[in-house]
């Protein structure tokens, strides 16, 4: 489509000389902790966000100090994997330069918050020495590629996992800006940086790719712009079904925005074809995506605008082949396997419950110390799940006792075992104090809210039910609340809209049920819902399915 008026971000990208902009000048500007406005957009494509401590704004202003600007760095970590050495390094950097809390995101990667401008280069340099980077972790490019986290689940996990890496590399921007600005690499003399995929415009909007290995949809494959569903027959990877057009972000009061689950458009077999198809889906979005209104720029809107069939044709002509018919697959769960599990060749895995992905030490449980001790044994890898948890991986039989000892010592096993089913199926986004878009609390609040919901569940003997509850504090859906059985979206401080009726496999979105509830109203409402569920549900009927049948379908 023709873009009559380009959004300002488009101009910034195109004038940025390969994402360089005036970042170097901004970094050298010693009188402020902030960046020039344009550079604030550009730095995202380098994997960082300028933020400020929203709790401190007023107080700082009274002190005639500027807001407390700092930066969030998000790593590019395809499939969410770190070696023990990398964990130790990460932990050191976090302690040295950030708030110290390591945040595991809903996309299997790590975020560090509160890094001062003057610390950014040292941080990225240290990451670089550990072969880690944050290139394209944010911004209008393909983001961190996520992949079913559970190696123990299937023999072909390793093979599928490699795809995350390959896709990530294929979709990296070609500019050397990252190396020049953050790692002080010499600029190329006659720099030829042709980027056939992104050109000088990059994408109209963020772009996300996920790979799921049925029967577990732990990474919510349908909420991504591109979702690959591994098709496996007697332990052979045949290829992938491709779903396109997933995305959850909406805008309060903007009728044209909506959450959408991906639509399966077919199947590809070989690696070459898979990569080609992905490449061209991105190129279609690059050329046809809306560049005037960022609210309508995601692939899901492009797709609905031109229609699935046109889209498939366009893809076929760009690929030089058309997709085969989608193959059957079956998701039966969307969860992490907490505790100890063993894979087909006898390696052990321990999945630790990390509430909201916050790795830190609290009086109840010292996850951060435990992970350091474990990393120092060198006997376990670190894998991050799409539910913000950690899998200590590839532990040899003989090392298991040592790891177990550390887990017990720091209270992790107790914590993982005793946390309620609901708590372990809950997610909350970052929100305050760093997220500039937050309208209410999320990760700082959900835990206490759940503590108040637990007695209600108990009252109706529903504690064992694996009900997914997800809270985000703006309609963007960072914790994928639209794809939960109970979704809470902040609308104002202490106020949430309540969504119900989503399934617990990520195949049906929830629907708004009540608006602007404060805490006691949330609790009253849930109490009523649970009571009815408890008395009227069919056996094995999940809360999501029940509430959909009972309250949503009938309404519509």
């Amino acid at each position: 489509m023709k873009n009559e008026k380009l959004s300002s971000v488009e101009r910034i990208k195109m004038d940025s000389d390969g994402l360089r902009g005036t970042l170097k000048e901004s970094l050298n500007d010693e009188i402020t902790g902030a960046l020039q406005p344009d550079d604030q957009s550009l730095i995202k494509l380098h994997g960082m966000y300028q933020q400020d401590d929203r709790d401190r704004r007023e107080e700082r202003s009274n002190k005639k100090l500027e807001w407390l600007y700092s930066y969030m760095v998000r790593l590019r970590l395809p499939g969410g994997f770190l070696t023990p050495e990398q964990w130790i390094g990460l932990r050191h950097i976090a302690g040295e330069h950030s708030t110290g809390t390591i945040k595991i995101t809903t996309r299997q990667t790590i975020q560090l918050h509160g890094i001062l401008k003057s610390h950014l280069k040292p941080v990225l340099k240290s990451f670089n020495t550990m072969h880690l980077d944050s290139i394209a972790a944010c911004g209008d490019v393909n983001r961190n590629v996520i992949c079913s986290a559970h190696p123990m689940q299937s023999a072909i996990h390793e093979e599928v996992f490699r795809y995350a890496e390959k896709i990530s590399l294929m979709t990296l921007p070609k500019t050397r800006a990252y190396y020049e600005i953050w790692l002080d690499e010499e600029p190329l003399i006659d720099k030829k940086e042709d980027d056939p995929l992104y050109q000088d415009r990059y994408l109209p909007r963020k772009f996300k790719i996920a790979i799921a290995i049925p029967p577990n949809n732990d990474i919510d494959v349908f909420t991504n712009d591109i979702g690959l569903i591994a098709i496996i027959e007697n332990n052979q990877l045949l290829g992938f079904n491709i779903a396109v057009g997933g995305g959850l972000g909406t805008t309060h009061g903007n009728e044209n925005t909506y959450p959408r689950l991906g639509t399966i458009i077919g199947f590809v077999d070989t690696e070459e074809k898979t990569l080609k198809a992905i490449y061209e889906i991105i190129s279609i979005q690059r050329d046809l995506g809306d560049r005037s209104d960022r609210k309508l720029a995601r692939l899901k809107y492009t797709l609905d605008r031109i229609g699935i069939e046109t889209f498939k044709k366009e893809l076929a002509s760009r690929c030089g082949f058309s997709l085969e018919h989608a193959k059957p697959y079956h998701f039966t769960e969307r969860k992490d396997y907490y505790g100890w599990t063993q894979n087909h060749i006898g390696k052990w895995y321990y999945t630790v419950f990390v509430e909201n992905g916050l790795v830190r030490d609290t009086e109840r449980v010292s996850i951060k110390s435990a992970f350091l001790d474990i990393a120092q044994t060198g006997k376990a890898n670190f894998r991050f799940t799409g539910n913000q948890n950690v899998i200590l991986s590839e532990i040899a039989e003989e090392d298991k006792p040592a790891i177990e000892k550390i887990l017990v010592h720091h209270g992790l096993i107790d914590h993982t075992n005793t946390s309620s089913a609901m708590r372990k199926n809950a997610m909350a986004c970052v929100a305050f104090n760093t997220c500039p878009l937050a309208m209410a609390e999320a990760q700082r609040y959900l835990p206490s809210l759940i503590s108040k919901i637990e007695p209600i569940l108990e009252k109706y003997r529903l504690q064992p039910e694996e009900i997914t509850i997800r809270m985000t504090c703006c309609p963007n859906g960072s914790a994928r609340h639209y794809a939960a059985e109970i979704g809470l979206i902040g609308t104002a401080y202490g106020q949430y809209n309540l969504y119900i009726g989503g399934d617990n496999l990520g195949e049906r979105l929830n629907t708004i049920y009540k608006v602007n509830l404060n805490e006691s109203q949330i609790l009253e409402t849930l109490d009523a819902l649970f009571e009815t569920y408890h008395t009227e549900k069919n056996n094995h009927e999940t809360f999501g399915d029940f509430s959909n049948r009972k309250w949503i379908k009938t309404n519509s």
Binding site: E30, I31, T32, G33, E59, R60, S61, N62, K63, K64, L65, E66, L68, L116, S118
Partner: protein, 572 residues
């Protein structure tokens, strides 16, 4: 003192001499007298002492913040117009053994510290007090600059005056003390000096016309303000507390950017109460000390210094109470606790040995032109230190930091006429680490308000960027509006090795020197140690390096700038 027979012979000798001849002889004899002193070997130079116009008149000044210098130079100018041959010298330049050759010596000197001479005049002061020979043929008068709020008002002036008297010199005009509003008192003193020389044609000190003795110094104006704002500029996690205090003067306060504000802090009520209860005296009993008459409670709260008493006071206390007290500085509360009075009645004696609470000065960080003539802003850093494991705070900075909004506050203005902005078109370089920023906040606001066309360059430094960047937002705005052309920052503790403003000065040597060469004015404000000295050295290094000068030449270059009022310091 002459024996009768000698006196007789002398009278016969001068019997038929004329008035002029007598005067000449007097001078001649005076010269002989000096000459006959083994310590001194100079020929009397009678010839130059013939007429008023050729009289050698020396005007010396001892200054710390430049007031005495201003006064001296101004007077010298006037005197020369009147045909008087006046030689002006700063006391650090004064050759001490010239003293014995002086005939007329006028001294303008301030008092600093706790009644001490300005560092610049220390040598002279000490020499004067060590000198054993008499100076009989020296005629002198002293103009003492001071601040009547200090315990030792114009002490240095007094000392110099009485010392010269003791050395047999002739006090031709009584000592004139001046408070901080010294202009008129100084003026009057000088008019009398001139009057003296007009009436005084001859050289006979006996014939000095009687001038009416000088009056008490005009006391300075005190203002009754209220605290309007009091905020700690440092963010959480800082090692410092720096208070931005806005005072509503309840009417126009006469001051200019660059002046300082004087405050006499109050002692903490708990301490006072504790002292009263420990000594068992009646807080409401009215007592009269040298300066005031008030209740014990009021004396201890508002008038007398009870903190960190100096050795002299402690000694007196020991005598009064009959205790053996190790030499040291104590707070009164500790004394009365560890070395109690024999009985409550002794409190009167004790109160009489205490000196008044000394005022504290604070550079004013507002400009009447920019912030309005009725408000005064301060930037006060709380002194904190440990006394045997106990956290203590400076008396005044601690006191100010705790003043809630609305509290009435009693203050006066200490003018600093040399620390002033230049003409609008001149470039200004301001170096103010820590609270040294205060006057420059005022300067910049004024440069903006007056639409000055000259460029402005500010050097600021402190410990941490995020917590200690005083007035950050204001300076950012001035920078973005172009009023503040350059802002050079040094945050000492944000990196492994410490970086201070002097490092930034050296980094920018070339450009800085260009500004200076182009007629730029350089100002330094802040604590003398460590900053003040290091900054001056850095500037000397810049001049040396960029001007390709020797160390000595660089020093002179800076002196030159100082004389042209292009290099000004307000360090404390």
């Amino acid at each position: 003192m002459l024996a009768d027979n000698k006196l007789k012979r002398f009278h016969q000798l001068i019997d038929d001499f004329s008035y002029e001849e007598l005067i000449w002889i007097n001078g001649y004899l005076a010269g002989l007298a000096v000459n006959s002193n083994p310590l001194i070997g100079v020929k009397p130079n009678g010839s130059e002492n013939k007429s008023a116009s050729t009289k050698k008149i020396s005007l010396v000044y001892g200054t710390e913040t430049g007031n005495s210098k201003r006064v001296a130079l101004q007077f010298a100018g006037i005197a020369r117009k009147q045909g008087l041959n006046v030689k002006v010298t700063a006391l650090d330049q004064y050759k001490l053994d010239d003293l014995k050759n002086e005939n007329y010596l006028f001294i303008v000197i301030s008092t600093q510290g706790d009644g001490e001479p300005p560092p610049q005049a220390k040598l002279f002061y000490d020499h004067l007090h060590q000198l054993s020979l008499p100076l009989p043929n020296l005629n002198y008068s002293v103009l003492a600059l001071g601040d009547s709020s200090y315990p030792q008002f114009c002490k240095t002036g007094e000392d110099v005056d009485s010392r010269l008297d003791a050395m047999g010199s002739k006090r031709i005009l009584p000592l004139q003390k001046c408070d901080v509003d010294y202009d008129q008192d100084a003026q009057q003193w000088f008019e009398q000096v001139l009057k003296f020389f007009q009436q005084q044609t001859g050289y006979d000190v006996e014939t000095i016309p009687k001038v009416e003795t000088t009056h008490q110094p005009r006391t300075k104006k005190f203002y009754e303000g209220n605290i309007k704002t009091n905020i700690n500029l440092n963010d959480r996690g800082s090692n410092k507390q720096t208070y931005h205090i806005e005072i509503d003067g309840n009417g126009v306060v006469e001051y200019e950017a660059g002046d300082a504000l004087g405050i006499i802090p109050l002692n903490k009520k708990i301490l006072v109460d504790f002292i009263i209860s420990l000594t068992g005296c009646d807080g409401n009993q009215i007592i009269e000390t040298q300066r005031v008459e008030a209740t014990i409670e009021q004396l201890l709260t508002r008038h007398l210094n009870i903190c960190y008493l100096n050795a002299a006071v402690v000694k007196k206390y020991a005598i009064i109470t009959g205790h053996q007290i190790p030499d040291n500085r104590y707070d009164l509360v500790d004394l009365v606790h560890e070395y109690p009075l024999r009985d409550a009645s002794q409190i009167t004696e004790v109160l009489n040995i205490l000196s008044p609470i000394a005022p504290r000065l604070y550079s004013i960080s507002s400009s009447p032109m920019a912030h309005g003539p009725e408000v005064v802003h301060l930037t006060v850093s709380r002194h904190s230190f440990r006394v045997k494991e106990e956290q203590r705070y400076g008396l005044c900075s601690g006191f100010l930091g705790e003043l809630p909004v609305g509290t009435p506050i009693h203050f006066y203005i200490r003018r600093n006429r040399s620390f002033k902005l230049p003409l609008l078109d001149k470039d200004v370089i301001m170096i103010g680490p820590g609270t040294g920023i205060a006057p420059f906040r005022a300067f910049l606001a004024e440069r903006e308000a007056t639409g000055a066309t000259g460029r402005n360059w500010l050097f600021f430094g402190d410990q941490h960027f995020t917590t200690d960047f005083l007035y950050q937002v204001e300076f950012q705005n001035l920078h973005s509006t172009g009023v503040l052309n350059k802002l050079s920052l040094a945050f000492s503790r944000d990196q492994a090795d410490k970086i201070y403003v002097q490092h930034r000065i050296l980094e920018q040597a070339t450009e800085l020197f260009q500004w200076m060469k182009g007629g730029g004015h350089v100002y330094i404000c802040g604590t003398k140690y460590p900053n003040g000295k290091d900054i001056e050295n850095a500037i000397l290094q810049v001049i040396e390096q960029e001007g390709h000068l020797s160390q000595e030449e660089a020093k002179n270059h800076l002196k030159q700038m100082e004389q042209e009022n292009r290099y000004m310091k307000d360090v404390y």
